[in-house]
Amino acid sequence: MIEKEANIINKLGLHARAASKLVNCASSYSSAVWLKRGDREVNGKSIMGVLTLAASQGTTLLIRTDGKDEQEAMDGLQQLINERFGEGE
């Protein structure tokens, strides 16, 4: 099990399309993925969950991955977030 923080840096935060890409990414790994913001934790593979996290720009999330490919999952998610979900904003 790995836990690591990530900072949401893109301008619109985890808006619908970014959330969509995050869920796609998380779902491509077999490990379980959890996202935590404050005391609220959601399943990273659920679009509804991720949307209701309402993570705007500047928010820090705690990512937890747990499973066979947990390291790849963590790396993949971190990269996606740091590259602003490919939006460049």
Binding site: I9, A16, R17, S20, S56, Q57, G58, T59
Partner: protein, 584 residues
């Protein structure tokens, strides 16, 4: 007789055509209990409906992305993902199994649970995603009720060229469907300009107006309509004057766009051979991209307020990431970063700006550099981030709303502290990063000789400069008309700024709206300005004027106007400047 109806302007553009009123197939959702023996069958029925809905959306996403790129298909992707989410895909099955609800009822119950969650969201944008969930569920409900052939609308013809569709409301998928059929414009009675459908309309380039109350009742089938997407108005049964007017606009717009394309490849030199710098005001990804495409000579104004309007104040890493991304996007073009200018009409609860609220006149109060020099931690964080960014590309730092030399000296001292800290910590940065000041305060404008000694460059913020100089609030429509750039006092003020900068040999740019307004280009050139910064979409227009201006002639006409006595009041300056170009 022309009937004018208004709504929310959603997507720019003008559409003229016949209207078609879209009739929605009413959905009858039967909710009843099933027998225990029917559970498996019901679950099967539910799953088929889900599959059918998913296939429809995937088909649409594929088609849409071919025509119109990423944004459109991403929006539909969100719907597809919602369909796959366990809260929609699995949870209703529990309702079928345990409560013996039929599929429709189980789904509806689950929808209500989801919507209740969304209602708690404070973020307006996220809350309106609830709409998307409703749309997705309705699609599944329709599949359940009517099978895979179930259609939303009962009466959409295959070809919609020259037709404007009026619907009660539209989902992104439905809009994409209309787009495929070539619809010319779209009107809805209900719908927010922030909805996904609105975003899609904009990205597909379909002129649209949403929220036109009673449109379907007030407008008749087949009636001629003019849709003005920019104003958010629909004209039904327009008389000839309207029709001719809008036809003209359509023609001029396309002709104008073509002529601007020719300008793109020309250098921005005046007729007398002066090289004029045309930079862009940009901070958003699309604006930066546009600046690179035009191409602009650089980014003359990169505003940073957006970083501070998102909840918590941004830390150094966040800012650095933002600036670095911008630099990467600019591939070598210089970036002038303006430190945060939060003040009068941009306030935020998260930062402790109670100070702003309590002051009687926020525009004249504690904002921009004044605020930053009070909260030096906040300010130094930004300075550090800007310095670190300078290692990744050509960066200049711009201080807003300068009033006194003292302020500049304090900024420099903080900058020095930041430099020393970064050096100790081992972070690289551009040792010779330039520091400039925005001239928007009239007293500062009159004291350039003093302030200019301590700055590497100047940028004139004409929006606020005019506001302060003419003592009129640009947000107050009752006095906004007083903000006349051609007021002799303003012209003299600008002349002073440019002359003083010239004597000191420091470069000066104008980055206010005036710089991007082609009506004033000749005036600014005549006053001595050689560097402009504006919204990237305006650069080509302004360049066009630059390439058609002989500056010495314009300057002579300006001088003549300034020396007029009483007649000045009746002599239109802009016309004089234009006339100077042809007669000599």
């Amino acid at each position: 007789m022309t009937l004018a109806l208004t709504g929310h302007a959603v997507a720019r553009g003008i559409a003229i055509g016949q209207c078609h009123l879209a009739e929605r197939n009413e959905l009858e959702i039967g909710e009843y209990r099933i027998e225990p023996g029917e559970v498996d069958q019901e679950i099967q029925r539910f799953r088929s409906a889900l599959t059918s809905a998913r296939e429809q959306l995937e088909h649409l996403a594929g088609q849409v992305s071919q025509d119109s790129g990423a944004t459109a298909s991403e929006i539909i992707q969100v719907h597809i993902q919602m369909l796959a989410d366990s809260s929609i895909r699995e949870a209703p099955e529990q309702g079928i199994r345990e409560d013996l609800f039929n599929a429709e009822w189980a789904l509806q119950t689950q929808l209500e649970k989801i919507l209740a969650e969304f209602r708690h969201m404070t973020d307006e944008y996220i809350r309106s995603r609830g709409e998307d969930v409703v749309q997705v569920v309705r699609l599944v409900q329709r599949k359940l009720s009517e099978g895979s052939e179930g259609k939303e609308f009962s009466n959409i013809p295959d070809r919609l060229a020259d037709t404007l569709v009026i619907a009660h409301e539209l989902t992104p998928g439905e809009l994409a469907g209309l787009h495929e059929r070539g619809v010319a414009g779209v009107i809805t009675e209900h719908g927010s300009p922030y909805s996904h459908t609105a975003i899609l309309a904009s990205s597909l380039g379909i002129p649209a107006v949403f929220g036109v109350r009673m449109a379907q009742s007030l407008i008749r089938e087949g009636e001629l309509l003019i849709l003005d997407g920019r104003l958010g108005v629909v004209y039904a049964n327009p008389d000839d004057a309207f029709i001719n007017h809008y036809h003209d606009i359509q023609r001029i717009t396309s002709g104008f766009r073509k002529s601007l394309e020719n300008i793109r490849s020309l250098p921005s030199n005046s007729l007398d051979g002066e090289i004029i710098e045309l930079q862009a005001n940009a901070e958003r990804e699309d604006e930066l991209g546009l600046a690179v495409d035009i191409p602009a000579d650089g980014i003359g104004l990169y505003r940073t307020e957006f970083l501070y309007l998102r909840g918590e104040a941004p830390n150094e890493e966040t800012q650095l990431a933002e600036y670095s991304t911008a630099l990467k996007r600019l591939s070598g073009l210089p970036l002038t970063i303006r430190t945060m200018d939060l003040g009068a009409d941009k306030t935020n609860d998260a930062l402790d700006f109670n100070l702003l609220r309590s002051s009687i006149n926020p525009a004249l109060g504690l904002r921009a550099i004044r605020l930053c020099l009070r909260d030096t931690n906040l300010f130094k964080t930004q300075l550090r981030a800007i310095l670190r960014a300078s290692a990744h590309g050509k960066v200049k730092c711009l201080i807003p709303m300068l009033t006194s030399v003292n302020e500049i000296l304090m900024v420099k001292s903080l900058m020095q502290e930041a430099r020393e800290e970064l050096t100790l910590e081992g972070y690289p940065f551009d040792q010779s990063m330039l520091l400039g000041g925005m001239i928007e305060v009239p007293a500062a404008a009159l004291a350039i000789e003093d302030l200019g000694q301590h700055l590497d460059f100047l940028s004139v913020g004409t929006n606020d400069l005019l506001q302060y100089a003419l003592a009129a609030d640009r947000v107050d429509e009752q006095v906004a008309h007083l903000l006349d750039p051609l007021h002799p006092g303003v012209v003299r003020l600008l002349q002073h700024i440019f002359n003083a900068s010239d004597s000191l040999r420091i470069p000066v740019t104008v980055c206010g709206e005036m710089a991007g307004d082609r009506r004033y280009t000749r005036l600014l050139l005549a006053l001595g300005l050689r560097s402009f910064s504006m919204h990237p979409g305006r650069i080509l227009e302004v360049k066009q004027v630059v390439t058609e201006t002989h500056i010495p002639r314009a300057a002579a006409a300006l001088l003549h106007w300034l020396n007029l006595g009483n007649e000045r009041h009746h002599t239109p300056l802009l016309r004089l400047l234009d006339q100077s170009q042809t007669s000599h």
